[in-house]
Amino acid sequence: MPDSATHIQAPADTQAAPADEVLAQARRWREAGQAVALATVVATWGSSPRQPGSQLAVNADLDIVGSVSGGCIEGAVIGEAQAAMTDGKARLLEFGVTNERAWEVGLACGGRIQVLVERVGDSP
């Protein structure tokens, strides 16, 4: 499996996907028997383009629908999503200007954001 942080660009055309479409797509993937993870913005501070409740769904083939930022942190989020698909554990990620990772992934808006990543599907 490729290293998501270096291979994934958040596709610009998914950013306007309506909330229903993200969850509907997650269900279609599940119905097709695929592993799926869901990332949800739970809190933001300062300027941030996406509000709490914004979601992104990703499957094991790294098909993506929705967004949790303007594209800055998607790569890192998808890496954690892959891990969640494998181990079934939810994780809370935080990105911000005080966080080295945020510079690395480039949270250019200068805000801070918390994202919950969880696997979709019943527990192992």
Partner: protein
């Protein structure tokens, strides 16, 4: 998130009923709150916060039982009802869908109201008053008439004005709109009721092309929905 929870959320959204998914951020433990029910695993403060968020429409975190929970308020999608499957309706419904509106086009003229002209959008070919009554506009519904034809536009406006729709707009020149207001007055609507209609619909941005007019209309709908600062 369990598959059953995902199905429950999608079902609630399709049925236009509110539902909150409440998740403990430390480990992903999750329960569902609706106006009538709450999952037993959730602490009472989290349930109370979820109930409040379902009415204010805002997702966010709450500390309950010494833990942080995220309340994801899934409130019914906003709707845009477009009366008249005319040229301007084509870019308008596309923009409406992009902005997250559940979008419906009404036109009884079957030559206009075709699925080919409106891919992926629900097209209703009933007479506007009948179609509008069936859709039952609520306070999360915008109604926009585009036909210029009094027998179509007025039929829809009659139902819209008796509904709590958050936005009512009608395409047409100032003169067309004045004539429309006169007809509605004759039908028994008061001046304050008629004043709910944004007419001519759309912000004054000098729009000319159909897509520009559609952008002006969507901008006005968003301005009303979000309490923006543009007047007129």
């Amino acid at each position: 998130m369990r598959d059953t929870t995902l199905a429950q959320v999608l079902e609630a959204r399709a049925a236009r009923t509110p539902l909150a998914v409440v998740t403990r951020v430390s480990d992903g433990a999750q329960g569902v709150v609706t106006p009538d029910t709450a999952d037993a695993l959730l602490p009472p403060e989290a349930v109370a916060d979820a109930a409040r968020r379902l009415s204010t429409d805002e997702s966010g975190t709450v500390v309950a039982g010494g833990e942080t929970w995220f309340v994801h308020a899934h409130t019914p999608p906003y709707r845009m009802v477009v009366v008249g499957a005319v040229h301007i309706a084509q870019p308008l419904v596309k923009m409406g869908v992009l902005a997250g509106f559940d979008t419906v086009v009404i036109d009884p003229r079957s030559a206009f109201a075709t699925a080919e002209r409106f891919p992926g959008v629900r097209v209703v070919d009933l007479w506007p008053d009948e179609a509008m009554s069936a859709l039952a506009p609520d306070s999360r519904t915008a109604v926009i008439t585009l036909t210029h034809d009094p027998k179509l536009d007025d039929a829809a406006l009659g139902v819209a004005l008796r509904s709590p729709a958050f936005f009512i707009g009608s395409l047409g020149s100032t003169r067309t709109h004045a004539a429309r207001c006169k007809r509605l007055r004759r039908e028994g609507f008061s001046d304050s009721e008629i004043a709910r209609i944004h007419g001519p619909v759309g912000l004054a941005i000098g729009a000319r092309a159909p897509a520009e007019i559609a952008a002006a209309i969507l901008a006005q709908v968003v301005n009303v929905r979000r309490g923006g600062s543009v007047t007129g």
